[in-house]
Every structure is written in structure tokens, then in C-alpha cells.
């Protein structure tokens, strides 16, 4: 069996429509001036805009119909993520979608419909997963005691200040479990915001110590383990889609500058030293987008299979490497202008650093791909 055998690309009218709508909506609602206006805000997004997004049904697009979702699956969220990335639109869409997927996939029955209904209805939710910067670590010291009281902190919790719900990754009888925590349950000062390199994003350290879990808020069982594995992959995929969008916007910004700026009497875009690296970025981005759409074709509502895992990992490795290259070159090719905060190149190089470090960097994914592809 060839290591490159599966080249599935499924794409239907509905997806084309959502892609088109999302692209236009984000372009209109999130010009760069609007992005910059949010850089210093605590939540990092415009709540009115978020309500519009909820109205469009995007928060429930991948969730089942009985909780108010559209039941269209993650593949449709991918198109939205790419559009948001292209517009550099910071919202809790990624974190909410991933939280919804994790819980929906981890739940054998319908025990947590309240949570899912909230997410579908636009209450921001987030997954509190990491306890250290190592994506390959399985450390989990955020545990609950016999009385159902949580002890411990999580860091890098995305959109924590905005979140109405936290899905806390914990352990129960030695196996992975999830605890659903409402924002109201957190003690005063539990959320300490991070200062992120990407100022369009928000994350925080959250201390869950003292939170009393309701018994039905604890989700345990084999399916949690599977859902958690899928969470890492879906997270990688959505960040990859977002990164593809950002890389495209970054390339456009650079190309636009190269078409208008003159040096030594020539448009600088006519110099091969600048135009050929732009072609490299374009082809890197083309590869990333192909992986993203391929992965979107393979991820369904069930647990992800080997080919889907390969696709998600390739998408993440390629997309964030492409964005890092695009961001780095955007700064360089804007010359002195690129060295200023005023130039949009800084938004992209910062987004690139953030994207690379979500759900494992390219090296992390290639290491796992090697096992999947070479050890047969």
C-alpha cells in the first residue's frame, strides 16, 4: 500500500456555499482596522460580531441537530476556520468548536445535552487541557477528590475570559476523564490571562482548585480516551485551516507591497530575490490547503481512522510551517516598514508563532507521521 495512497477530496455544493458565505462575511466584518481595534481588548473580539456569528449558525454547525446544531460535521467548521484565519478574526470559534466536539465525541449518550445546547447557542466554551508546554507530555495533575472537588491548574487555556463553559481534562480511576465546569463556579482570580505573542488571541492560566463538580458533570469511560486523541487531531486541523487563511492573507499583503514599492528605480516585486520566495510560500500554502481539504474530507463524526490522522497531522505540519515562512518573509520584504508595529506584517509573524505552537509543532507531527507511514 502506497504511503501516499489515500488522496480523497470530497467537496459538495453545501460546502462551497458555506465557504463562500464565510469568506465574504469575514472579509466585510473584519477588515484589518477592526482586527487592530481588538488587540488590546480583554476578550479579543467584538461581542456584537460574535452574536452575528451565532445567528449564522456557525457555533452549532458541527453539532448534532437535537442540541440545536446543524449536524454538518467538522468538515464545515474547517471552511469557517480558514475564512476567519484569512481575516485574522479573533473569536472563540476555534475553542468553542473544539470543546463541543470533544464533549460530543466523549459522551456515550445524551447526558450533556445542556452543555452542547449552550455551545450551539453561542455560549463560548473552551478545553482546559495543558499543564505544561510539552505537547507530548501526558502529565495530568488537575484531579478531583472523593468529594468531587477539583485541585490544580491548567495553562494555555484559550479564550478563558470569554468562556461560559470549561471542559477540564482530568482523570478518573487512572483513565482520562472530562469535567464540565461553568465559569460561575470559578473562584475569584482563578483566571490569570497570558500575554500572547499573537495579540489577536487570548489564553490564560486557570486554577480550578476548589471547584465542586456536579456528579453529572464528570464524563468518563473508554470513549473519552478516544475523543481526547481525536481532540488533538481536530485541534491540529482547525488551527491548520486557520493558518492557511492567515498565510494567504499574509502573502497577499506582501505581494501588494511588492507591487507598489520602488527601490533603486524599480518596483521591488520585479526582483527575483523577492518574487521567488513568494512563489515558495505560495506552493507551500497550496500544499497546506490541499492537506486541509483532504483532512476535512476524512473526518466524520466517528472516531478518526489512520488516514484521517495522517491527513490532520500533515495539514498542521504544512500549514504552520507555511505561515511561519510567510510571516517571516513578510517582515523582511516590507523592509524598514516591516519592522514597525504599524505594518500588518507583524500581525502575521505573530500569528505564525502562535499557530505553530498549538496542538504540536511541525516536528511533533512529523515524528508521529513517521510512525504511521514508515513502521509497517
Amino acid at each position: 500500500m502506497s504511503v501516499t495512497a489515500n488522496t480523497t477530496l470530497r467537496f459538495d455544493e453545501e460546502q462551497a456555499m458555506i465557504m463562500d458565505v464565510a469568506r465574504n462575511f469575514c472579509r466585510e466584518k473584519s477588515p484589518i482596522s477592526a482586527v487592530r481595534a481588538q488587540l488590546d481588548s480583554p476578550l479579543g473580539y467584538d461581542e456584537a460580531l460574535w452574536r452575528e456569528i451565532v445567528q449564522l449558525g456557525w457555533t452549532g454547525i458541527a453539532l448534532p441537530e437535537h442540541v440545536g446544531g446543524a449536524g454538518l460535521g467538522v468538515s464545515h467548521a474547517v471552511a469557517i476556520a480558514e475564512a476567519m484565519g484569512r481575516a485574522m478574526l479573533g473569536t472563540p470559534f476555534l475553542s468553542s468548536t473544539l470543546a463541543g466536539q470533544l464533549v460530543a465525541r466523549a459522551t456515550p449518550g445524551l447526558r450533556v445535552d445542556a452543555f452542547l445546547a449552550d455551545v450551539a447557542a453561542g455560549v463560548p466554551a473552551t478545553v482546559a487541557l495543558q499543564e505544561n508546554p510539552d505537547w507530548g507530555s501526558d502529565a495530568c495533575d488537575c484531579l478531583f477528590d472523593d468529594r468531587g472537588v477539583l485541585h490544580g491548574s491548567k495553562c494555555f487555556v484559550p479564550d478563558a475570559l470569554a468562556a461560559g463553559w470549561f471542559v477540564v481534562v482530568t482523570r478518573h480511576r487512572g483513565a482520562p476523564a472530562l469535567a464540565l465546569v461553568r465559569a460561575e463556579q470559578l473562584p475569584e482570580g482563578a483566571i490569570r490571562p497570558h500575554t500572547l505573542v499573537d495579540e489577536t488571541r487570548r489564553a490564560a492560566t486557570v486554577d480550578f482548585t476548589g471547584v465542586q463538580l456536579e456528579p453529572e458533570a464528570i464524563i468518563a469511560g473508554d470513549q473519552v480516551t478516544v475523543a481526547l486523541c481525536d481532540h488533538y487531531l481536530l485541534g491540529a486541523l482547525l488551527v491548520a485551516a486557520d493558518a492557511c487563511g492567515s498565510a494567504g492573507a499574509c502573502l497577499d499583503t506582501t505581494v501588494e507591497y511588492l507591487k507598489t514599492r520602488k527601490q533603486f528605480g524599480k518596483l521591488i516585486g520585479s526582483y527575483q530575490a523577492l518574487k521567488h520566495p513568494c512563489v515558495d510560500i505560495l506552493t507551500g500554502l497550496d500544499a497546506a490547503r490541499s492537506f486541509v481539504y483532504h483532512a476535512a474530507s476524512l473526518v466524520g463524526d466517528g472516531s478518526l481512522d489512520r488516514d484521517a490522522e495522517i491527513a490532520c497531522r500533515m495539514a498542521k505540519a504544512q500549514a504552520t510551517d507555511a505561515l511561519c515562512q510567510a510571516g517571516d518573509r513578510a517582515v523582511q520584504f516590507h523592509g524598514g516598514m516591516g519592522f514597525t508595529y504599524e505594518c500588518d506584517a507583524q500581525l502575521y509573524i505573530r500569528r505564525a508563532q502562535w499557530s505553530q505552537q498549538q496542538f504540536g509543532d511541525a516536528l511533533h507531527h512529523r515524528k508521529r507521521l513517521a510512525v504511521l507511514l514508515l513502521d509497517q
Binding site: S2, V3, T4, T7, L9, F11, Q15, A16, M19, D20, R23, G248, L251, V255, L258, K259, L267, G269, S270, Q272, K275, H276, C278, V279, L282, T283, D286, A287, R289, S290, F291, Y293, H294, M314, A317, Q318, L363, R366, K367, L369, A370, L373, L374, D375
Partner: protein
């Protein structure tokens, strides 16, 4: 009336069975990896025999008219044959300029007489064709061709030099681009297109030794070579238009090509397979993490190319940079191929210093030769550097 799925499935089964039964045994010498690499009579005889067999079994030129040796059926049948040939890993059908350039052109715009005269010999492999477009001084710039064709009575008299003539020393015919009017306003308007015989006085095809040490191309010298005036295809001055028309046949049997494999596709699986029994520091090479990382990068590149080919056909997935995938295809593929082959040599350890002809060389030196030959694609048909300009200017809209 289109073939049903069932009919096609049965046909595929027949083809597959025939290929299983008839796939030639390893001849004991390295076969060319493409039609541009036929360097010995031994290789030529082998490939000619194979092409004849394929045609004789009814698996070549399936969409060409029956009266000229074709199959007279829909192109989809030929596609199935080609897919199965690829899957079975059989040798190439070497007469590529005939099958994929001259033949389709004659089918499309040739006279009845031309069809009757040329088409069957192309399919059987009896009449080898070559191409005379490139010239030594003009590299990627075909429109500047300087080879002269001067009408003299019932002949054209040809003078000039063509280069990179694949199979030039074996060919009976050449599709020739020559200048009939040096004073035309646009340089393209002075060019004409000929179906020229090769075996006439004044034509000398001198083999070019490639950096691999092997042959496969010639430099073709025309010195007052007289060819009959009816070798002119179309009218004088239509040469550029006709030459451009030949490019469309690259799109396969639907577009008119006869079919058959033009080159041996070397894929990453082939490379990984050859690495599987190698060691590094006494451990399996494939357990070395840095090598694994390198291989994953290459696998991703190859997979991205395959996915890109599919994605190129889905318009809504190409709204950002329309035609990016199409225009960059040659660059991406040829550069990937070069790096992949180079890596395959690099990873062989001391065996990487051996070459074709050494009994201890891995796969007879296949990868060493493949690496060197890969430059034909990064240089020929517009160098990678020129390709990058084209993409920058036509896809990204950067200034010239």
C-alpha cells in the same frame, strides 16, 4: 452510446489479466526511465518489441480510428489501460513523440493521405518519431528558432541545428519547426511546421552524451537537406500555432494522445522500499529519527502533488490563486523529483558512491542515474527559475 460501468470493469479485468501474463521479465539490463533515456540498441529493441505487443493486443491507440490501426472506441478505455500499465509497472511505450505529439496532430489536422501514411507505423513502433523544436542558442525561447526552410521547386531546403532531439538517431520522421520567412513582422509568424523525413542526405543526428554517461538525445544538423514540399503541415507561417497545438495532447487520450506510458513513475514508496534493508550505525536506517523526518517531508511533498492535481479540478477550492496549481505543477513536481532522488542516493552510505555498472550498486545504480536524469525536467521545457518567474507574474501578479 457510452460504455457502462460494468463494461469498463470487465475491460479493466481483461487488461489486468493480459498485463499479468505478458509483463516482460527483467531483461538483465537497466531499462530507460523515460523515452528520453534510450541509450542503446538493446534498450531500443526491447522497448520496440514491447510496444508492438501492447498494440497487437489492442491496447494502444484505442481511441484512434480503426482504419489507421486504432481501436475506434472511447478514450476512457485507453485511460484504463494506462492506469493498469502504471499499476503493473510495465515498461514504457517509447515512441512518445509519435504517440503523443505527431500522431494526434495528424489525426486532427492531417490529410487522409498523411493519416494513411503515418499513423499505423506510430502505433506499431515501426516508425520512430522525434521532435525538432529546441535550438542550441535559444534554450527555453522556442519562438526564436532560426533553422531555415527555403522553398526550392518541389522541395524545401533545410539548414540549421536542432538540439535535445529525443531518439533522433533512431527516428524515421521528425516534427520540425523551421523559419520560412525571416522577415515576418512577428517572429512567430515566420515559422512553419513540417513532418520531415530523417533519412535524407544532409541530416545528421549526432548523439549527445548526457551527464549520466548515457545517450538518449541527439543534436540534429541540417545542411542543405532537401525534403519534399508536401512535408509542410498546414500553411507556411502556421508553424507556431501548430506547435502550440501539440501541447494540448499532454492532457491524454481525451485530447487525442494514443496512450501508453511515457515514463516510469518513480514514487516515494520505491525509495522507501530500497532503504528498508539498509543500516546506519548498525541499526535499521529507517529507525534513524533524522532520516525519518526527512522522509516524512518528502512523503508530504509527493502527497501534496497528488492532492493538488485533484484539487485543481475543483474550482471552489481554487478561488485564492486560480491556476496556481496548474501553473506550478511542473516546478513542484520536477523539483520534488530531483530532491527525492538525490536523497535516495545520499542515504545509501558508501554504496552511494557506486554507479550504474557496479555489481554492488543498489538496484544497479538506479537512483544515481535517476538523480542525474532528473535535471532533464528541472532544465528542459523552461528551467525551474523561469517557471518561478511565470508563477510569480501570472499567479501572484508580480511585475516582470
Amino acid at each position: 452510446m457510452s460504455a457502462t460501468d460494468q463494461e469498463l470493469k470487465e475491460f479493466r479485468g481483461q487488461v489486468s489479466a493480459w498485463l499479468s501474463d505478458n509483463k516482460p521479465a527483467d531483461p538483465g539490463f537497466l531499462l530507460p526511465q523515460s523515452f528520453m533515456e534510450v541509450g542503446t540498441e538493446q534498450q531500443l529493441d526491447f522497448l520496440r518489441e514491447w510496444q508492438y505487443q501492447v498494440w497487437n493486443a489492442g491496447y494502444l491507440g484505442l481511441a484512434w480510428p480503426r482504419e489507421y490501426g486504432g481501436g475506434g472506441v472511447e478514450p476512457v478505455y485507453q485511460n484504463i489501460v494506462d492506469q493498469e500499465m502504471r499499476r503493473h509497472g510495465v515498461p514504457i511505450c517509447f515512441n512518445v513523440i509519435g504517440l503523443g505529439w505527431a500522431g494526434p496532430l495528424i489525426n486532427d489536422i492531417g490529410t487522409e493521405e498523411e493519416k494513411a501514411r503515418y499513423l499505423k507505423g506510430i502505433l506499431t513502433g515501426e516508425d520512430i518519431w522525434c521532435q525538432g523544436f529546441s535550438e542550441p542558442d535559444h534554450g527555453s525561447d522556442l519562438g526564436s528558432a532560426q533553422t531555415r526552410a527555403v522553398r526550392d521547386g518541389d522541395d524545401y531546403v533545410i539548414n540549421g541545428t536542432k538540439i535535445w532531439t529525443t531518439l533522433g538517431n533512431y527516428a524515421k520522421y521528425m516534427i520540425l519547426l523551421a523559419r520560412t520567412n525571416p522577415d515576418a513582422g512577428r517572429k512567430y509568424d515566420g515559422l512553419s511546421f513540417f513532418l520531415s523525413p530523417m533519412h535524407v542526405p544532409g541530416i545528421e543526428a549526432r548523439p549527445i552524451r548526457k551527464l549520466t554517461g548515457e545517450y538518449g538525445f541527439t543534436e540534429t544538423f541540417f545542411t542543405d537537406a532537401r525534403i519534399p514540399a508536401d512535408c509542410l503541415m498546414g500553411e507556411e507561417g502556421q508553424g507556431w500555432k501548430i506547435a502550440m497545438q501539440t501541447l494540448q495532447y499532454e492532457r491524454g487520450a481525451e485530447a487525442g494522445a494514443a496512450g501508453g506510458l511515457a515514463f516510469e513513475r518513480i514514487v516515494i514508496d520505491d525509495m522507501i522500499a530500497q532503504l528498508r534493508d539498509m543500516t546506519r550505525d548498525g541499526e535499521p536506517l529507517l529507525s534513524e529519527p533524522v532520516v525519518r523526518d526527512q522522509l516524512v517531508r518528502l512523503i508530504m511533498e509527493e502527497k501534496a502533488i497528488a492532492l493538488g492535481d485533484k484539487r485543481a479540478a475543483i474550482a471552489p477550492l481554487n478561488t485564492d490563486y486560480p491556476f496556481s496549481l496548474q501553473l506550478s505543477n511542473k516546478l513542484r513536481f520536477s523539483e520534488y523529483a530531483r530532491r527525492m532522488r538525490q536523497t535516495a542516493v545520499d542515504l545509501q552510505g558508501a554504496a552511494g558512491s557506486l554507479y550504474v555498472g557496479d555489481e554492488q550498486a543498489r538496484q544497479g545504480g538506479f537512483w544515481q542515474r535517476a538523480y542525474f536524469n532528473s535535471f532533464s525536467a528541472t532544465i528542459g521545457g523552461g528551467t525551474s527559475q523561469v517557471q518561478a518567474n511565470i508563477i510569480a507574474e501570472h499567479v501572484l501578479g508580480l511585475p516582470k
